[in-house]
């Protein structure tokens, strides 16, 4: 699926905050390579003495011909790479990247699917939703996202509680109908059909809970694709 890919230099062309702890880095690739919605890139930082640290980040931008990608990076406590990206990287910096990687957790733009994300797990799912919007096929996808509080929701300006399922687990916006609670079967049930693919992305605990929920609701187990985010800094 994925071809052999080599390291290339990407130039940071824009940085925008998503939340207090997440930023999106838009990068111009020196060797533009088409990606699929859901794939990721590896970012490698190298010190003058040759020491390097690399981490994987999902692409948030949809497949297009811009030759640019957007990576949304959450700053983790103790995160060697995420802290550097957040605190030190400015527009114009050149960063080494490699990708796109991953041929499993991808949506090709033609099959109906339910997307369930927890916290920063929304990132690859947002690439899918944006792709569906570009294709004019939002009818194919339903996105459900779970966050602790409104100020932790990535891409809030592109999400609409009337169109997407937005679950708050601790604090809701004023007047929000659904009380703060963990995601549950009732949140997903209206959107589940047996012919759906499911894409679940989030922490290990979230991914396990959500994927079992989908199976219990009737999604065939082999149609559930899961991407678990470990604490990779």
């Amino acid at each position: 699926m994925t071809d052999a890919t080599s390291w290339q230099t990407a130039t940071v062309v824009a940085i925008r905050p998503e939340t207090a702890r997440a930023k999106t880095f838009r990068m111009k690739l020196s060797e533009p390579t088409p990606h699929l919605a859901g794939q990721h890139y590896i970012v490698r930082l190298t010190a003058p003495d040759g020491y390097s640290a690399a981490r994987s980040y999902s692409v948030a931008s949809p497949p297009d011909d811009s030759g640019e990608i957007e990576l949304t990076v959450e700053k983790l406590e103790d995160g060697e790479v995420s802290s550097f990206l957040h605190d030190d990287v400015i527009v114009g910096d050149e960063i080494e990247v490699r990708g796109p990687i991953g041929g499993w957790f991808v949506w090709n733009g033609d099959a109906p699917a339910i997307l369930v994300g927890g916290g920063s797990g929304i990132v690859p799912l947002m690439a899918m939703l944006r792709y569906a919007r570009n294709l004019g096929r939002t009818d194919l996808l339903h996105l459900a996202v779970s966050v602790r509080a409104p100020d932790e929701l990535f891409y809030a300006s592109e999400l609409d509680p009337a169109e997407q399922t937005i679950v708050y687990t601790r604090t809701t916006p004023a007047g929000y109908a659904r009380p703060a609670a963990r995601i549950m079967g009732d949140d997903l049930e209206p959107y589940v059909r047996a012919d759906l693919d499911a894409y679940v992305c989030g922490s290990a605990g979230f991914a396990d809970a959500a994927s079992h929920m989908l199976v219990d609701l009737g999604v065939p187990v082999h149609r559930v694709r899961v991407e678990r985010f470990g604490p990779t800094g």
Partner: protein, 202 residues
Amino acid sequence: MAKVTRGFLGRHTDRDPRLPPGQYDTGNRWPVLTAEVTPKLDLATWTFKVEGLVEQPTTWSWDEIHALPASDYEGDIHCVTTWSKLGVHFSGVSVDTLLAAARPLPTASYVLAFSHTGYTTNVLLSDVTMGKAWVVWDYEGKPLEPQHGGPARLLIPHLYFWKSAKFVAGLRLMDHDEHGFWERNGYHDRGDPWLEQRYQGD
């Protein structure tokens, strides 16, 4: 050669020599990366098979595999997503013991490990013999949790950890290489962390 990143110095003053290139020490944490729904497997019906190019295809039940001579691994594990976990302890049975019962044919040189979920991964037969691989069910003296591949997983610690198939159901010995789940999706056929064989082409 890697290009120096402006302003990056890194936190590598006390880098542990047990860490392969590009890896970091995840410490007490054990990140979970599984592409599928974590299965709930019943020990009463659980089996492990060695099949394919062997003289004696063999299936063990949970009790039968536990009756085999125990074998432990103490050392490090390395995930392709760049974390390593140092000084871990697993218990189970050596793959050598399982192969001794099934007796590989001279034509066998590749292995496809398969899981109860349908997950697969390919390795060289020589990468799972001579004390290099285990089927393990205990981690640090306790039953291996489902999120880490319990009730039993393959353990091939000298290769990246996706080769250590979770929920392992058996080994199929073959005379040719056949891509497993991640290998079909762009990951390396062998996966030696010291050579940074992460993706096809490395």
